[in-house]
């Protein structure tokens, strides 16, 4: 599904990603943890195509294609979905309008007919139930005035509607109350499928209690310094990131929160 090889990226002159290697197979869920500022969001953004970080070297293969050569919207239509750490508010653009335009752009790309208004609404309302979201949210502007937790739920709603092949969830759990976390986790789990892969960026074991990852990676200072199974997350929860610093691979890792 996704093969990242020796990926380097900088913001301005500042190198942020310093040689990421990661392979994700279809159906797998990978968790990425790591201290603040280590580059997790930068990696997520680079995969989605944001241009504020520049890829300086390395490659990313997505379903056998050179992902980095695709435009942002092409990646999305090919099934890459990023749930943002900080979803932006877009006053004046209706939530439901965006959902429909996004879904139809993707369907068109795949050679499917556009959904008519009725079928589309039925689909969205169905997914909203899953996310336990109030239908009035559909008719508001994208994220405008949404609470932190509502924004995160809205991201997962979009994901549920778009049914991506590669979902990258950047700290979707932060800012959620316990009930909301369960709902979101539930929504995510319902999307787990043999042909769908996920990257979960998180700081907390809690999310991983609900969404069991196949692998856990620690990203520090722009490199993956440790990879393991779900047990790695438990270890991190107990001991923080300092102990990784004892290992050669993670030299110079800062304390995280």
């Amino acid at each position: 599904m996704l093969i990242i090889k020796d990926l380097h990226a900088s913001v301005g002159d500042k190198p942020i990603l310093k040689g990421i290697n990661l392979e994700i197979k279809a159906g797998e869920v990978h968790a990425i943890m790591g201290p603040n500022g280590s580059g997790k969001s930068t990696l997520s953004n680079v995969l989605a195509g944001r241009e504020n970080a520049t890829v300086t070297s390395g490659s990313v293969l997505y379903q056998g294609k050179d992902l980095l050569a695709l435009d942002v919207e092409e990646r999305a239509r090919e099934g890459v979905f990023l749930a943002f750490q900080y979803p932006v508010e877009i006053p004046g653009v209706g939530n439901v309008y965006l959902l429909k335009a996004a879904l139809n752009a993707q369907r068109k790309h795949r050679g499917l007919p556009e959904l008519d208004a009725m079928d589309f609404l039925a689909l969205v309302k169905d997914k909203m139930k899953l996310m336990e979201m109030n239908e009035t949210m559909l008719y508001r502007s994208v994220n405008e005035g949404f609470s932190g937790g509502e924004k995160k739920r809205n991201e997962i709603l979009q994901m549920a509607v778009l049914e991506p092949r590669l979902a990258i969830l950047d700290e979707t759990d932060s800012g959620l109350d316990i009930d909301a976390l369960k709902i979101v986790a539930n929504g995510v789990n319902s999307l787990r499928a043999p042909d769908r892969s996920m990257i979960l960026v998180t700081h907390y074991q809690r999310l991983l209690d609900y969404i069991k990852p196949d692998y856990v990676h620690v990203l520090a200072e722009g490199r993956i310094v440790r990879s393991g199974g779900p047990e790695l997350a438990h270890e991190l929860e107990k001991q923080g990131y300092a102990w990784i610093g004892d290992e050669p691979a993670g030299a110079g890792v800062k304390h995280g929160s």
């Binding site: 653009v93 335009a101 752009a105 778009l162």
Partner: protein
Amino acid sequence: MSAVIQHYQSEFERAAPLLPWRDATGWQAWRQSAWSRFAEQGFPSTRHEEWKYTSVAALEKLSLSCAPATPVSLEWASLKDRVVLPEACGRLVFVDGVFQPTLSRVDGLPAGLRMGALSGRSTQDSLKLQGLLEQGQARTPFTALNAAFVAEGAWVAAEAGVRMEEPLLILYVVTEGQRAMHLANAYEAAEGSAFSVVEQYLGMTDEPYLVNGVTSATLGEGAKISHVKIQQEGARAYHIAALQAVQKRSSQFNSHSFALSGALGRNDIEAVLAEPEAAVSMKGLYRVSGRELQDFHTTIRHDSPDCTSDECFKGVLNESGRAVFNGKIRVAPDAQHTLSQQSNHNLLLSDQAEVDTKPQLEIFADDVKCSHGATVGQLDEEQWFYLRSRGLAADHARALLIEAFALDILTGIERPVLRDALESLLRRTAHV
């Protein structure tokens, strides 16, 4: 005498026998004095503070004809699709400045609400008009020129307590260039009355022409006028207009201006909050591209205590388009408890576009709440990325964001049919 003044002098002489109410000495004297005022000043130059960024030098060079045109015939069917409210129950249509009774309809109006063409008024009634038009008159050379030549326009009058929700339409179509049309509109809402009027200017020629308008609105105690003005002038057209609203106690004036096309547009809009508890909402959207220029000079005069003003203008600037926003708020010494808000937001979509924005606050009272703010920015990169990351094409995402920025100006338009009509007009005419 300069060649420019000479041209207009001879036009003045040529037009005189063709103008309405020409036999009334009250009009002759009035026009003559207006003409003298114009002849003294000539067209404003950019040395004039109020015209610093807006040069009318190219307009001056055009030898425009100022006499009323001979009527042309136009079919309603050929206009209908471009009209913002084709179903309006009251409408007045003017083609090349000439009233078109057959395209107009005024039969569906409630008792106590009347509208019509200025030229149809009796001499006696027309003299009362002078008083209204004079309000805004001595201010610019263009208003003086207007007074000298004014030949046609629309009037709407509501008697005390008469309230009409359905918006009325006043349509000015221009089919032929090389002319100057001097128009006047007079809106009068007596005590406790209310109406809503939409002025649409539709240029259907690419030849240069000038629309020079003066509009007066008078609002009695507790009255309400909602005024929407839409400029869709021709590519080489000049549109210059002055609007003044004078408001009595507890009246409400809502003004929405949409300057969507034309080579050069200049609007001077003034609201005078003459008595306590009057409120004005002044909104506007200007869109420029190519080498277009739109200039809004607004003035809100808080002359009385406890009045409210809410002003917001937005601009979308493409290519080498330019815009000017100058927003003056004057709070008189005894206008305590004034509440005033002003904002001007501009979206620059090209490196060549330019906007000059200036708030001008003159506050002489101490117990007031006045805020103002202006922004000039580009499209928000983060929002753009977000939309694209959901699969929307780059252009589509861009158009959506521009639209969202612009359509925001429609808030405050109460009638859904009007809001929807304006929304679809704005979408249809967006050049992205």
